[in-house]
Amino acid sequence: MASLSSRNPFRKLYSWLPIVLLFISVLNEFDFNYLNLDYFSFNFPFILIFFFSLKDFKHFDYFLVFLAGLVNDTVVGLPLGISSLSYCLICIATSYLRNITIRPHIIKDWFYFLFTISLINSISYSVLNLFFSYNLDLVNYVINNFFTFLFYLFFVYIFNHYLKGVND
C-alpha cells in the first residue's frame, strides 16, 4: 500500500514541490511588486533554499538550485552565475550550521538567516557594482533584506506543515 502511494504521480509531485516552487518563483519573480507598495520586496528563493537545505530535504538537489540561480539571472537580467553563486553560498552556510548545531532552535536559525542573507546580498552588490559597473540602489537591498528576514518565520511555519505532510 505504501509503495503504491509513493508511486502516485501527485504524491511524487508533492515531494518535489520545494524545487518546483523554487523554479516557479525564479521564473515568475514571485514578490508582489505589482501591488506598487513603496519599498516592499522580499526574496522568496532565499527563504526557500535556506529552509530546505537546512533541513537537508531529500529532493532538494543542489544542482537544481544552481540551475534555478541561472534562470533567475536570465529573468532579472543580471550577469549569469551571480544568483547561482548566492544560492550555493546559502547552501554552504546552512550545511555549516547543520554540522555545528546539536539542538536546533528556530530563533537561532532566524538570526543566522539574517546574517547569511546580509552577507550574500553584500557580496552580490559588491560584485555587480565593482566588476560589472551596475548602478544599484543600496536602500532597496537593505529593505529587501529586512522584509526577507521578517517573512522567514511565516514561511517556516508553512514549510514545517508541508514537511509534516510529506513525512506522514
Binding site: L27, D31, F63, I100, V127, Y134, L136, D137, I143
Partner: protein, 406 residues
C-alpha cells in the same frame, strides 16, 4: 582550543565537500562552476553569446508561461479598477482626441519638412518603421527595471533600438535574442538619456530612480532659474543613442529648503505597459540621378575642383547679396532715425518757445493785477507830481514795488 579549531575546520570542510547520497555535485564544485560562468559571461565569446541567446529564448518563454496565472490575476484587478473610472476617462479621452487630431496635422507637416531637410544634409534617408511588440515579461524588479518583448534579431531589432509607448519614449534595447529582446526602461538607475528642456532650451541628462519619476542628473549652472513646472522634456539626440525630439515627460520642480530638485514625470506609466512599439530604422541611399549623370560626364579631378569652386563662388555671391541687402536696410533705418531726431529737435524748440511765452504772460498778468492796486500811486497826475508816465520802465518798477518810488 585546538579541538574547537579542528571542529570548525571539519564543519567547514564538510559543508563544502560532503555530498549527501541524493546530491550529484558537492557545493564547492557548484561554487567554482558559478564563478566560472560569471567570468565566461563577462567575456564576449561568440559561442557563449549564442548559448546565452538560446538560454534566454527558453527561459523567457518559460517565464511567460509560468506568469500566465499571475498576469491573469493582475489583469483582472486592473480591469475592475478601470471599469470604475470608465465614463470619466471616456469624456477626457474624447476631448484629448479632438485636440490631438488638430495637432497631428501640423505634426505631419513638420515631419515632412524635417525629412526634406535631412535629405538635403545627408546622403541617405532613414526611414523608420514602428513595429508592434508584446511584452512577455514585466516583473518590475526593485533592482533592475527592464522588460522583455517578443521581437528580436529576426525582426531587425538591434541593440539601442528605441522603444515607444504610443509616441512616448520608454527605453532602449540592451540585449537582442532571435525572437526576444530586453528593454532597459528609462526608470532604471543605469539609464542615462540626453534631453532638451523646452521652451527654455536647456540641455541636461536624466536618469532613472527606480520609480515612475526621472531625475535630472547633469545641468549647467545658472540655467535652472528659468525652468518651471510647465517645461517639457524631450530627447536631444546628443550621442546618437536616442532619436531627437521624442517626448519623455514633464518637469517637476521640488523645493527642499534653499535647494531645488528637478524631476521628470514620465508621460508613460511603465507599470501599465502591455504593448510597445520598436522603431526599426532602415537607411537607404538617395538616388540622385542628375548628379550621377553629371558626375559620369565630368569625372576628372580638375572638373570636380571647378565644380567645388563654382559652388563656393555661388555661396560667396549669395552671402554678398545678403550683406548688400542688409546694408541697405540698415542705411534706411539710419535715415529714418535721423529724421526722427530732427523732428524731435523741432518739437523741443517749439516747446521751449511756448514755455518762454507762458513765462512772459504770467509776468504781464501779475503786473496788471498789481497795477490795479498800486497804479494810482505811481501814475503822474496833478496831485501826484512825483509819479511816472504810464508805460515807462520807472512806472513798471514802481508798480512792482507796490507804489514805492525808490
Amino acid at each position: 582550543m585546538a579541538s574547537s579549531r579542528d571542529d570548525f575546520i571539519i564543519a567547514i570542510r564538510s559543508a563544502f565537500l560532503k555530498k549527501s547520497t541524493q546530491q550529484k555535485f558537492s557545493l564547492l564544485t557548484l561554487v567554482f562552476l558559478s564563478v566560472f560562468i560569471i567570468l565566461l559571461s563577462s567575456l564576449d565569446f561568440r559561442a557563449v553569446r549564442y548559448l546565452k541567446i538560446a538560454i534566454n529564448e527558453v527561459v523567457y518563454r518559460s517565464s511567460f508561461l509560468v506568469s500566465i496565472p499571475e498576469n491573469f490575476l493582475k489583469d483582472s484587478f486592473m480591469g475592475i479598477s478601470d471599469y470604475t473610472t470608465f465614463f470619466k476617462d471616456y469624456n477626457q479621452n474624447k476631448k484629448e482626441l479632438s485636440k490631438l487630431k488638430s495637432d497631428a496635422v501640423s505634426s505631419n507637416i513638420i515631419e515632412f519638412e524635417n525629412k526634406e531637410l535631412k535629405e538635403l544634409i545627408n546622403d541617405y534617408v532613414s526611414t523608420s518603421n514602428k513595429i508592434l511588440a508584446k511584452i512577455i515579461m514585466d516583473h518590475d524588479s526593485p533592482f533592475l527595471k527592464s522588460i522583455i518583448i517578443n521581437k528580436g534579431s529576426k525582426d531587425n531589432i538591434k541593440i539601442g533600438t528605441n522603444i515607444y509607448d504610443q509616441s512616448y519614449l520608454v527605453g532602449r534595447v540592451i540585449e537582442v535574442n532571435y525572437k526576444t529582446s530586453r528593454v532597459l526602461l528609462l526608470s532604471d538607475l543605469n539609464s542615462n538619456v540626453p534631453v532638451t528642456i523646452a521652451p527654455q532650451n536647456v540641455q541636461a541628462i536624466i536618469t532613472g530612480r527606480g520609480d515612475n519619476i526621472g531625475h535630472i542628473k547633469y545641468m549647467k549652472d545658472g540655467f535652472s532659474n528659468d525652468l518651471n513646472n510647465q517645461s517639457i522634456v524631450y530627447t536631444s539626440g546628443t550621442g546618437a543613442i536616442f532619436k531627437s525630439g521624442i517626448p519623455i515627460g514633464k518637469l517637476k520642480i521640488k523645493e527642499e529648503g534653499s535647494t531645488k530638485k528637478f524631476n521628470v514625470e514620465f508621460y508613460s506609466d511603465f507599470s501599465q505597459l502591455k504593448y510597445v512599439f520598436a522603431e526599426v530604422i532602415i537607411k537607404t541611399a538617395i538616388e540622385n540621378t542628375t548628379q550621377n549623370s553629371t558626375n559620369n560626364e565630368n569625372s576628372t579631378p580638375i572638373d570636380v575642383k571647378l565644380n567645388i569652386l563654382e559652388d563656393e563662388l555661388k555661396i560667396v555671391e549669395d552671402t554678398k547679396l545678403k550683406f548688400k541687402q542688409e546694408n541697405e536696410e540698415l542705411k534706411k533705418k539710419i535715415n529714418n532715425l535721423n529724421n526722427d531726431i530732427l523732428d524731435l529737435k523741432n518739437n523741443i524748440f517749439l516747446q521751449k518757445e511756448k514755455i518762454e511765452q507762458s513765462d512772459l504772460d504770467k509776468k504781464e498778468i501779475e503786473f496788471l493785477k498789481m497795477n490795479l492796486y498800486y497804479g494810482h500811486k505811481c501814475r503822474r497826475s496833478f496831485f501826484n507830481t512825483k509819479g511816472f508816465t504810464v508805460g515807462s520802465d520807472d512806472y513798471r518798477n514802481c508798480v512792482f514795488n507796490k507804489g514805492r518810488k525808490n
